[in-house]
Every structure is written in structure tokens, then in C-alpha cells.
């Protein structure tokens, strides 16, 4: 009898455990910014950075980093697209047949990108001209699709939203670092302001660093340097964080 009771209580305990597991799976029992959710935001900034670790979304990251301003605009645009398409796909995740999910995802992302493109054309026309085709290329930006596939299809709405924001922030971070280095060394400016002094026609006309004979490094403005700068960023990151080092 006692044995049976013990068995029963063990079974009940198991049930309780299951219940707890079930509850912690559902979202409303978890606070909005619990530790797990904060990890979703902070992880992509370093340990799981979309560009330097997951190798996603490099295409646009390199082409628009000659100056800071388009890089910042691009980062914000990607953040908007990722957050909202993650939310939409996460809402639809139980309705999408898996065979045609790529087309569904593309349509959702493309509609979000059209919205962003129209908004940019209306409110930031100069930058939108500068970004040209690269706004359209957000559609095929691998991070957007990659996160939809890997995260939004299997997780709740709020988590997917945070995941979108976090990954877009990690992407934007690298974008802004690269653009900062390239604009500073390539044209001596930040956001178009001449932070290193003004370069006149002769040494006597110049101010700041240029008066000492400093020259801009024109190579930084060319596309190959973007690749090399990202390569160096990866090098620095992996030297700091040795668990990211690859075998080969």
C-alpha cells in the first residue's frame, strides 16, 4: 500500500514537472524581459553575431559602408524589416505548409521591404538614392531569411520580435564599425563632418591633422578594403573570444 502511494506520488510529481515545463513553454507565464529573452537580444551582438559568426547578410554589409550615414540608415531599415517579418511569420507559423514556406517568407519580406523603400523615398530621398538597389536587396539578405527559418518558424511572437531586433542590432553593429573605420581613414570625416581638420589646397591652408602633412587613405574607399576590414574585425573578435575559432 505504502509502495503504491509512493508510486502514485512519484507519478504526480512527474505530472507536476511536465506541467511546469508546459507552462514555461507558453509565453504569458514568462516575464517580458526574462533572462532568456534578454539573451535573445544580447547574444547576436557578440557570441552569435550574424555577420562574423553566422556568416549571414554579408552582401549588403560591405557595399554601403563607405560612409556612416547610409550604414546607419541601412541598419535601421534592416531592423524594421527583420522585427516585423519575424512577427508576421511567427503569427502564421502554424498555417504555412512547409513545402512552400520559402515563397511565403519571401512574399512577407518583400512586402515589408517595399514599405521601407517607400518610406525612405518619402522622408530620406538622398540616402535612398545613395543606397539604390541595396534596399531592395534586403529581401535576399540572408540574415532575414535565415532567422525566419531558424527562429520565427518555431517560436512565439514576442521571442521572435526580440530575436529580430537582436540580430539586426548585431548586423548594424558590424556595419557601423566598418563604416566608421572606412569613413574616418578614407575621407577623414564622420557623418560628413571633417573631424580630422580641413584639407586645403596647400599645407598652409589646412587645419588639424592635415596641417601636419596627414593624407587620407584613398584605398579605404575602394570595395576590397571593406572585405579586409571585416576580416580584421573577425580576427580581433576571435582572438578575444577563443571558443569561436574554427578548425580549418
Amino acid at each position: 500500500m505504502a509502495k503504491e502511494k509512493k508510486y502514485n506520488s512519484a507519478k504526480e510529481e512527474e505530472k507536476k514537472q511536465e506541467m511546469i515545463l508546459f507552462l514555461s513553454d507558453s509565453e504569458e507565464k514568462e516575464s517580458f524581459l526574462s533572462r532568456a529573452n534578454r539573451k535573445l537580444l544580447s547574444d547576436p551582438l557578440d557570441d552569435n553575431n550574424p555577420i562574423t559568426v553566422q556568416v549571414l547578410g554579408i552582401c549588403s554589409a560591405l557595399a554601403i559602408t563607405v560612409q556612416l550615414e547610409p550604414a546607419v540608415v541601412m541598419a535601421i531599415a534592416v531592423m524594421a524589416v527583420m522585427a516585423f517579418s519575424n512577427v508576421i511569420i511567427s503569427l502564421l507559423r502554424n498555417m504555412i505548409p512547409s513545402r512552400i514556406r520559402i515563397i511565403v517568407q519571401l512574399v512577407v519580406v518583400a512586402s515589408m521591404v517595399i514599405l521601407v523603400d517607400q518610406v525612405l523615398k518619402a522622408y530620406a530621398y538622398d540616402v535612398s538614392k545613395q543606397l539604390a538597389v541595396f534596399i531592395g536587396l534586403i529581401i535576399t539578405n540572408c540574415i532575414v531569411m535565415g532567422r525566419l527559418e531558424a527562429f520565427a518558424l518555431g517560436n512565439g511572437v514576442w521571442k521572435s520580435f526580440l530575436d529580430g531586433i537582436g540580430n539586426a542590432a548585431g548586423y548594424g553593429l558590424i556595419l557601423i564599425i566598418v563604416a566608421f573605420i572606412r569613413e574616418l581613414l578614407g575621407s577623414g570625416k564622420l557623418f560628413g563632418f571633417e573631424v580630422l581638420g580641413h584639407k586645403g589646397a596647400t599645407l598652409a591652408d589646412s587645419t588639424g591633422l592635415y596641417a601636419l602633412g596627414y593624407e587620407n587613405n584613398g584605398l579605404m574607399l575602394l570595395s576590397p578594403m571593406a572585405l579586409i576590414v571585416v576580416g580584421v574585425i573577425i580576427w580581433v573578435q576571435r582572438a578575444r573570444n577563443r571558443k569561436l575559432i574554427e578548425e580549418n
Partner: protein
């Protein structure tokens, strides 16, 4: 002569990878061995050579401002160009599906080797980029669109073939540990891009 000029330009001078960084994701992910690189490169050439002309026709007869004037004078001022992203991507996604089925049927070994990367051609920036650049360049006539699609596909193929060959060799060399894999690949690509820049300014 113009077509030859455009062809050579799109392969070497305006190379998808080295000048615009398009298609970098699969370029980095599939370039570990030459064999898979060749397969993916061939698929990209094929898809680009088909989608750019189709999207050119769509753009000329449906999307650009005034494109609908063949329907009648009252349609002449309709501008559907805001739809171009979604139309282009729909064409690309369906073409990729087609290529996937053909490869699965006739080259199952290649299909197995390419695996996940075949559907990913749909989200290869180089493919959509080809169509968007085509829209920007205002080509006259479909022959220019075909040439451009084929040329940029071959350019991408050359790029991935080159990096795959280098990566196969570099596996035997002593790279600093944090630079292994991704880091060194980036830097080599940068150096290759510098090399390709020497084609700039060549007039045909």
C-alpha cells in the same frame, strides 16, 4: 560589338562578388571544395541567364512608368514600379524551384552535394541583384539583358571557383588560429578583389 563589351564588363569589371559583394553568403559557405563550388556556380549562371531576361520583359511591358501603354492610351501614365521587388522575387523563386526539380531528376549526385544551398539560390543576392541592376541600367533590347545575365553569372562562377581552389590549398598552411576559416577567406577575397580592380578602365 556593344554586346561583347557588355559581356566582358559584366564578367570582369562589374564582377558581382568583387565589385558589388553580391551573393557573398553562399560564396563563403559553399567554397570549401572545388566540386561543390562548380555545381553551385553552374546553377547560378543558369538561373541568372534565365531570370534577368524574364524580369527585363516584365519590367518593360508591365512595371516601369508608361510600360502599360501597349494596352491603350488611357493606361500610359500608370506606374507600377513599386511592385518590381515582389514580382522579381516571385519569378526568381519559381525559376529556382524549376532548376531544383531538374537537378534532382537528372543529376541526383549534384543534388545531394548541393543540399540546402539549392533553395538558397532563391535568396542569393546575386540573382536579385542582377535583376535590379538590369532595371537600373535601362537596357535596350532583350539581347542586352541576356548578355548581362550570362556575363554576371560567369563572373560569379569564376569568383567562387577561384576562392574554392585557394581554400583547398590553404587548408595545408599555417594560418593564425583566430584567422582560420572565415577571417582568412575574407582577406583573400579582398586581395582577389584588388586584383580584379586592375581590369577597371579597360575600354573595348
Amino acid at each position: 560589338m556593344d554586346l561583347v563589351n557588355l559581356f566582358v564588363r559584366s564578367i570582369f569589371i562589374e564582377n558581382m562578388v568583387f565589385a558589388y559583394f553580391l551573393g557573398m553568403c553562399s560564396y563563403l559557405a559553399v567554397s570549401k571544395t572545388v566540386k561543390t563550388a562548380v555545381g553551385l556556380g553552374a546553377a547560378v549562371i543558369f538561373v541568372l541567364a534565365i531570370t534577368v531576361p524574364i524580369n527585363y520583359l516584365l519590367d518593360t511591358y508591365l512595371l516601369r512608368p508608361g510600360a502599360l501603354s501597349w494596352l491603350g492610351a488611357e493606361y500610359a501614365d500608370i506606374d507600377l514600379s513599386f511592385l518590381s521587388f515582389i514580382m522579381f522575387i516571385a519569378v526568381i523563386a519559381s525559376m529556382v524551384q524549376l532548376v531544383e526539380m531538374i537537378v534532382e531528376k537528372f543529376a541526383p549526385a549534384l543534388y545531394g552535394a548541393l543540399g540546402i544551398f539549392l533553395p538558397l539560390i532563391a535568396v542569393n543576392c546575386a540573382i536579385l541583384g542582377g535583376s535590379l541592376f538590369m532595371q537600373q541600367k535601362n537596357f535596350i533590347g532583350i539581347s542586352e539583358a541576356v548578355t548581362y545575365g550570362l556575363g554576371s553569372g560567369i563572373g560569379w562562377f569564376l569568383a567562387i571557383l577561384g576562392i574554392a581552389a585557394i581554400r583547398e590549398k590553404i587548408a595545408y598552411s599555417n594560418v593564425p588560429a583566430p584567422l582560420k576559416g572565415l577571417g582568412i577567406t575574407f582577406i583573400i577575397t579582398g586581395l582577389m578583389a584588388l586584383g580584379f580592380m586592375s581590369f577597371m578602365g579597360i575600354k573595348l
